[in-house]
């Protein structure tokens, strides 16, 4: 008897919580679009045409879908590299640098061992990126542990170091003399990720990335280790008293974030470009940041928000090409979405 009455209420409460979670998002998106629409209209552009381009470019052609997914993969991983340390209360602003160093690691392995067969080289390339990214995450973790250095500063400063590293690698060490832009020679074909679709090409890194996202969700929400991580973020002092090694949690979360960002770098090299190209990470730092903040650090929401942002990015570059409206206009949409999502929390707290 009791089971019968409980199940519907549980379902109802779950539904209500999902609705309660997503309604602020929907309102935020709609209000942001209206506000920016008014602005675009005042600038003398065709608002309807602009929004059609932004929202539907991704879905109109196979190419649009693939472009969006190719953006979605690194953006989601970048956002996870931000939200994982956020669970412990730490801010990783270095996802972009960790991705670059991951790309360097992957490219180095792929170029040095270019003659190895695929079943050895491909895992090596991917692991090379993960290890390099994890190392780049280890540095701020160590600086935090050993010298108590604020992780925002150390992670962001390492980004700038990595910008110079990739320039050096791509224009001095393994430079491709024919390319006009700093670019390395291609990695061995054994290191290329197999394609899911041949034309337009979509690589199987998509599946890997989604598996990582699921793994992260399960780890943070369904395991003891993840629970300790979240407890550390919620109240470090209490967690410490209850025997959680909070320092270890801080470090672990930063290294894990570095590994995931590093993976995104190796996916770009092994799946998409097949070589290392300077500036392959366009503005991923701020985009990963905004995705993580809009998702409010919720790892279940990250993939959906990342997909939404990928759609906006692809649509906005089409809009700049065809209508001469600057692509940065979507930053304003994203900033307003974030603002309204954050404000909805304030409103809820007041009630």
């Amino acid at each position: 008897m009791s089971v019968k009455t409980e199940t519907p209420t549980l379902k109802k409460s779950l539904l209500r919580s999902i609705a309660g979670q997503s309604i602020p998002y929907l309102v935020a998106v709609v209000v942001a679009f209206i506000a920016v629409g008014i602005f675009i209209g005042l600038m003398g552009f065709d608002v309807f045409n602009a929004y059609q381009t932004i929202l539907f470019t991704s879905f109109r052609t196979p190419n649009g879908i693939v472009q969006t997914l190719l953006k979605f993969i690194p953006l989601m991983l970048q956002a996870l590299a931000f939200t994982i340390p956020l669970a412990t209360g730490k801010f990783n602003i270095g996802g972009e640098g960790q991705m670059i160093v991951g790309g360097i690691g992957a490219a180095a392995v792929g170029i040095i061992f270019k003659d190895l067969p695929g079943y050895i080289l491909l895992p090596m390339v991917l692991l090379g990126g993960i290890a390099a990214g994890a190392f780049w995450g280890l540095i701020p973790a160590w600086l935090l542990f050993k010298f108590n250095i604020n992780e925002i500063l150390s992670t962001v400063l390492l980004n700038f170091v990595s910008f110079q590293m990739i320039d050096f690698i791509a224009s001095e060490v393994w430079a491709d003399p024919v390319a006009g832009h700093p670019t390395t020679v291609p990695i061995g074909e054994g290191g290329w990720l197999p394609l899911l679709i041949d034309n337009p090409p979509l690589h199987s890194g998509l599946i890997l990335a989604i598996l990582v996202a699921i793994g992260v969700y399960i780890y943070t929400n369904r395991t003891t280790g993840g629970y300790e991580m979240i407890a550390t973020g919620a109240n470090p002092r209490a967690s410490k008293i209850f025997g959680i090694d909070t320092q270890k949690m801080f470090m672990l979360s930063l290294i894990l974030a570095g590994a995931i960002a590093g993976l995104s770098g190796s996916l770009e090299v092994s799946g998409y470009q097949h070589r290392l190209i300077k500036d392959f990470q366009s503005n991923f730092l701020v985009l990963g940041l905004i995705i993580g903040l809009i998702a409010k650090g919720n790892n279940l929401a990250v993939p959906f928000v990342a997909f939404f942002i990928a759609v906006l990015e692809v649509g906005a570059s089409a809009m700049q090409r065809t209508m001469a409206i600057p692509v940065e206009m979507v930053y304003i949409v994203e900033a307003l979405v974030l603002l309204f999502v954050l404000l909805s929390d304030v409103v809820r707290r007041r009630r």
Binding site: M43, F91, I93, L143, K146, F147, N148, I149, N150, I152, L153, S154, V156, L157, L158, N159, F160, V161, Q164, M165, D167, F168, E172, V286, L289, I290, L293, Q320, A324, P326, E328, M329, Y331, I332, E334, A335, L338, L339, L342, L343, D345, V346
Partner: protein, 311 residues
């Protein structure tokens, strides 16, 4: 004394480079001493550089350009103060969100103003304003008194802030807000007023630091012109122990690294230039390793004060 020329020139260059560090460092310090930890510097400086450049270009007056950038910075400071002090939201989340907004606007606004494709125009770079008599002093006059207006302003500002914070009653009130807002509040000091005013003033200084960059050398604006100086300013504030006079000297160090990277590059020592360009960031990390633990930090830095909450 010809042999001294390279040294004199280098010291002169440091004072030239030091301006954005001083301004952004003092701006960070002002908010921080009342408990508001600003992390939006990079974004605000980027936007300040775009606004300062555009307004200077349209009005022909660098002064108006700088004032416009300061106004924008003040608005960002106001937003930070409102969301954290009044709405009690997380200071880092809001700071990073404001960084994002500044970053987005800094390329959007020039594109809207000048068109997407067009190449950017040039503005006048800042000229030297020699100070009468003092600039006649050998060596010292050349280094200190033949500079642009902003160099004088930044140094005088630092001295003024030191006087205000440590020699006046109001400075004591302001500092107490960042150390113990509960005690300050119980003495009738207006915590919210100090947090708002100092964060807004700090934002204005950070905006000004951004506006200086296109006027300093290049005479034009390039995306990402700030190149991490906003983040370095935060590290500098820790290095300088959150006090105006030590921040002034700390800034000299960071400007020196900047100048060194340029000088060595020109000198062509056979080191790949990419490694020289890493120097400022690596040096910042290194400096943090030695000073972060010992740095004297305002007790309420990064924390919001809620009168109703019992702790």
């Amino acid at each position: 004394m010809e042999f001294l020329d390279p040294i004199v020139n280098f010291l002169k260059l440091i004072l030239f480079y030091v301006v954005p560090f001083i301004l952004a460092g003092q701006g960070t310090m002002l908010g921080g001493r009342t408990g508001v930890f600003n992390v939006s510097q990079e974004g605000v400086m980027l936007l300040g550089s775009a606004i300062g450049f555009l307004v200077t270009y349209y009005t022909g007056s660098p002064l108006v350009g700088v004032l416009a950038a300061m106004l924008v910075g003040a608005v960002f400071g106001l937003a930070l103060a409102y969301f954290t002090t009044t709405l009690k939201m997380d200071q880092f989340v809001i700071g990073l969100a404001l960084f994002f907004v500044g970053f987005g606007l800094h390329t959007l606004i020039p594109k809207l103003a000048l068109g997407i494709q067009s190449s950017l125009p040039r503005i006048q770079t800042l000229g030297e304003v020699p100070i009468p008599l003092l600039s006649e002093i050998p060596i010292l006059g050349e280094i200190f008194f033949k500079q642009n207006m902003f160099v004088y302003f930044a140094i005088l500002l630092s001295i003024g802030l030191w006087y205000f914070m440590y020699k006046t009653k109001y400075g004591l009130e302001m500092r107490s807000v960042g150390e113990n807002p509960l005690a300050a509040d119980s003495l009738g000091i207006n915590v919210a007023f100090w947090r708002y005013s100092m964060t807004i003033l700090g934002g204005a200084l950070i905006g000004m630091a951004g506006a200086y960059l296109p006027m300093e050398f290049a005479g034009t604006f390039t995306p990402n012109i700030v190149a991490g100086r906003g983040w370095i300013a935060i590290a500098l504030t820790f290095f300088g122990g959150w006090a105006p006079h030590t921040i002034l000297f700390g800034s000299m160090f960071f400007a020196g690294i900047d100048g060194l990277a340029v000088k060595v590059q020109v000198g062509n020592l056979g080191i790949p230039f990419q490694f020289l360009l890493m120097l400022p960031y690596l040096a910042t990390i290194l400096v943090m390793m030695f000073t972060f633990r010992r740095s004297r930090v305002p007790a309420f830095l990064g924390l919001n004060y809620d009168r109703e909450r019992r702790s």
